[in-house]
Symmetry: C2
Subunit: 143 residues, 2 copies
């Protein structure tokens, strides 16, 4: 993990369709060497996968919300139960008054209610507090 690896990661985050020849030139290596470095970054799991960034609103998910969940121990398979709800994008165990934080995307607030109802049925959930996003300033990839 040196500066060249970090530069390659930055370039690929911006645009993963760049050719290895172009990447190599940008970091002062041959295309083959750039390729080999990227291959190893993938192998080591630093680069998890190549994917596309999608406009969620265009796919009919216009409402983003965060839900703080109060509850007990998340020992069982609460994680799996939450993962089974397709509208939940992120689930974190947090410090503080609540103990889980979810990020949820739904077409509207109507569908958000349905998701909250399902969340409430997950083992150990005793209460929820919902934060609806009114406007997103930015959602970006860190360099």
């Amino acid at each position: 993990m040196d500066d060249i690896d970090r530069m390659l990661i930055g370039l690929l985050q911006e645009d993963a369709t760049r050719s290895y020849a172009v990447l190599g030139k940008a970091v002062g290596l041959s295309g083959g060497a750039a390729h080999e470095r990227v291959r190893k970054l993938r192998e080591r799991g630093v680069i998890r996968r190549t994917t596309i960034e999608v406009d969620q609103a265009a796919l009919g998910r216009a409402v983003t919300s965060y839900v703080m969940i109060e509850g007990g121990s998340w020992m069982g398979d609460s994680a799996a139960e939450l993962a089974a709800i397709p509208e939940i994008e992120e689930a974190h165990v947090i410090a503080g008054p609540a103990s889980l934080l979810l990020k949820i995307r739904t077409p509207g607030t109507r569908e958000l209610q349905d998701v909250l109802r399902r969340v409430f049925q997950v083992d150990g959930v005793t209460g929820t507090r919902t934060i609806v996003v009114l406007e997103t300033f930015f959602e970006r990839t860190l360099k």
Copy 2:
């Protein structure tokens, strides 16, 4: 935007290195036709860009936190001021007691303090409440 477009988006989210020939076969089209559909999805902005998903911890950003900000009107260029802080991954205007929600990634809690100090200096900020993530169950791309 039909079911084939949605399938193509799903396939590319899983793995954007798939060839158009493979994509076409998966959705019952020729490679050329699949290519044309994906081109139009990009053109329309439904697909924003092709990127890589990176293991943040491997890049030295081990601590994820959310910060709820109380404050006034975000009319000026608060958005730009926040965007200038590189550790802030997301910034949302929210409904509820606070009025902004930030997602922050730092190497440790020490650096989180530095970021909070900078956030406090942004125009209109009167208070912050920080939620530190203890464990992430998942952070995924919605299908």
